[in-house]
């Protein structure tokens, strides 16, 4: 759980080459699709599509397992806990005291678990196939102000650095007898302080230096700045965008305009 596993994997799959803006739009539309569908069968179909997307994106098996280790726990919790708190429906299977386990309750729990799988998997497809640099670039092209984008890019750049700083300060303090996992809340808080104060002061010093570096490189000198790499939509990207929008819009219309059971 600790340490920095970069979810992005270098590869040349169709999803890697896709415009990051289309991928961000796909995440939004496919998430909404997973939220409007409530029938277990259709959700399983959507889950199959997600697995297919992971395969197309050539997701590495170990990273997928790392990411799913948490989601699988949540799915298990939902399947177990949902029927206990959902006494609706007629075929009552079990009853003790106020708790009723019903057939529809169990099905609803399963459907929610599959929905959570879909919601999680669509983010993995994005994170596995898009580098952090491309994500920030896409956000800037989508209208995020350049200076905020720069701030975000810098913070992603410094993330592994600070991670290493935290780890090395933790080791240094441990060597002096610090115990992070003992004692009550107040004692633990004081112990964490021994790690966090040096880390924070390092970060604030870095911020001062960084501000000077930005200024000396004429940050913000011109409003009409140019970019080294431009994003450009290819024909296939437009096709993908249309497919994704249709994949959301058609079931949405079927459910809420034609009131079909989905």
């Amino acid at each position: 759980m600790t340490g920095f596993v970069d979810l992005f994997t270098e590869s040349n799959s169709a999803l890697h080459r896709m415009d990051p803006r289309v991928k961000i739009a796909s995440v939004i539309f496919l998430s909404l699709l997973a939220l409007i569908i409530s029938e277990l069968g259709y959700l399983l179909v959507l889950a199959g599509v997600m697995v297919l997307l992971l395969l197309i994106g050539r997701a590495s098996f170990s990273k997928t397992m790392f990411a799913f280790s948490y989601v699988s726990r949540v799915m298990l919790l939902i399947v177990v806990l949902w029927p206990i708190f959902d006494p609706s429906g007629t075929p009552v299977l079990l009853e003790f005291g106020p708790i009723k386990i019903t057939g529809p309750g169990i099905l609803a729990g399963l459907a929610t678990a599959v929905r959570v799988f879909c919601l999680a998997a669509v983010w993995y497809v994005l994170m596995f196939t898009t580098s952090q640099r491309d994500l920030v670039r896409a956000l800037v092209k989508l209208g995020l102000r350049f200076d905020y984008g720069l701030s975000l890019a810098i913070s992603l750049r410094f993330l592994p650095t600070f991670g290493a700083t935290v780890e090395s300060i933790k080791d240094a303090q441990r060597a002096r007898g610090l115990e992070l996992d003992r004692g009550g809340v107040a004692k633990r808080a004081r112990n964490y302080l021994a790690v966090l104060v040096p880390t924070t002061i390092t970060a604030l010093k870095t911020a001062d230096t960084l501000a000077l570096a930005l200024q000396s490189r004429a940050y913000g000198a011109r409003a009409d700045r140019t970019y080294l790499r431009e994003l450009s939509m290819r024909a296939i990207d437009y096709v993908a965008l249309v497919v994704v929008v249709a994949a959301f819009a058609l079931p949405f219309a079927a459910k809420y305009l034609l009131s079909m059971p989905l």
Partner: protein
Amino acid sequence: MESMEGPARPPQSPAKFVSPKVVALYAMLTALTTAVTMTLVIPLPTRGYYNVGESMVFFAAFTFGWRAGMICGGIGSAAADLLLGYGFFAPITLVAKGAEGLVAGILGNLKGGAPWARIAGIWAGGSCMVATYFFAEWIFLGFGVALTELPANVFQVLLGGLIGLMLSQAVAVYRNPRSKQA
């Protein structure tokens, strides 16, 4: 509250960008929040981990104002969710931690950051975060999961708030050695 604007820009400057000091500071606070959230973790069965990332949200809010608390806390925590593979939680985290930083920053800096203001900030900001997570989990994951998560979130706010409070006072001494706070 700390002034975040940096030195005044010369009037002929054509670009309207945030000052480099703010870009650098916010970038560092965001990275710090993400790094602390990801590295200082206590494993748990439900959401996988407790973390002391809360403390960085409160620290940013108390030391640099509500804007820093909202932006760095919200984006830093959401980025940690994304990078750890809890991507679908990132939008919820953005709202929950952003609101926490915003509220803690506004309330915690009343009367120049008096102790009662700080405690009110932790209480109100923490309530925002716990409530956002509770209702979001209720809607998306069901009542049972939301209920099991609740004590973990409350504990995380208490621990994080305490650490954030002490951290902001320790760093205040570093930033202004003549101040009497300790």
